[in-house]
């Protein structure tokens, strides 16, 4: 039961990732791509946490935490850059 729900959740998250990827490819603006990237990151964090459950390794949670930290900084930096550069 729990096993099945994990795989179902992973499948749904994968579809969400593909949809975000579609927006990333289509753009049209850089801003659209940054938003898509942000969404892909959040979905990715869920993915990492799910992997942690399946593999039963708590250390992956730290990976998810650091990933969240880095992507937050990344989005802020890119947004500030676009604000001045465009």
């Amino acid at each position: 039961m729990a096993e099945a729900s994990i795989y179902l959740a992973a499948l749904l998250a994968a579809v969400a990732f593909v949809l975000a990827m579609a927006r990333f490819v289509r753009g049209p603006l850089t801003f659209d791509r940054v938003v898509a990237f942000d969404v892909m990151t959040i979905v990715g964090i869920t993915g990492i946490v799910l992997v942690a459950v399946v593999e039963d390794r708590a250390i992956y949670l730290d990976v998810a935490l650091i990933y969240a930290l880095m992507s937050f900084l990344g989005v802020i930096v890119v947004a500030r850059h676009l604000e001045r550069g465009l």
Binding site: S5, A9, A20, D38, V39, A79
Partner: protein, 112 residues
């Protein structure tokens, strides 16, 4: 008791992942950057929080660290959305033609 937690965890996982899916769908369907930020980043925030709660039910020992990830997302996600939306508006990215009013444009003009 344990099995009840497992069922709850499974339900939360699937519910959270469904919100992720809706967020992705919104990202593809919405007409302009601002609406995409809305549909994309926020549905996925709730989705991730629910998924984390589900994992916490399956793995009670991890609750504290999952809570930390959730709190972190809760504080940083709105910030990045806001900075992104502000950057888009300051770079004169026009909202979709369907937008009925843009009070920010009228009141601020070319300033800022």
């Amino acid at each position: 008791m344990t099995s009840l937690l497992a069922v709850l965890g499974g339900l939360l996982l699937v519910a959270g992942a469904s919100f992720l899916l809706l967020g992705g769908l919104g990202l593809v369907r919405m007409p302009d950057v601002y609406n995409r930020i809305q549909a994309g980043t926020k549905a996925t925030t709730l989705g991730t929080l629910l998924t984390l709660a589900g994992v916490a039910c399956l793995h009670p020992g991890w609750t504290m660290k999952l809570l930390l990830i959730g709190l972190f997302l809760l504080f940083t996600n709105p910030l990045s959305s806001q900075v992104l939306a502000r950057a888009a508006h300051r770079s004169k990215v026009a909202p979709t033609a369907a937008t009925e009013v843009d009070l920010l444009d009228e009141t601020k003009g070319d300033g800022a």
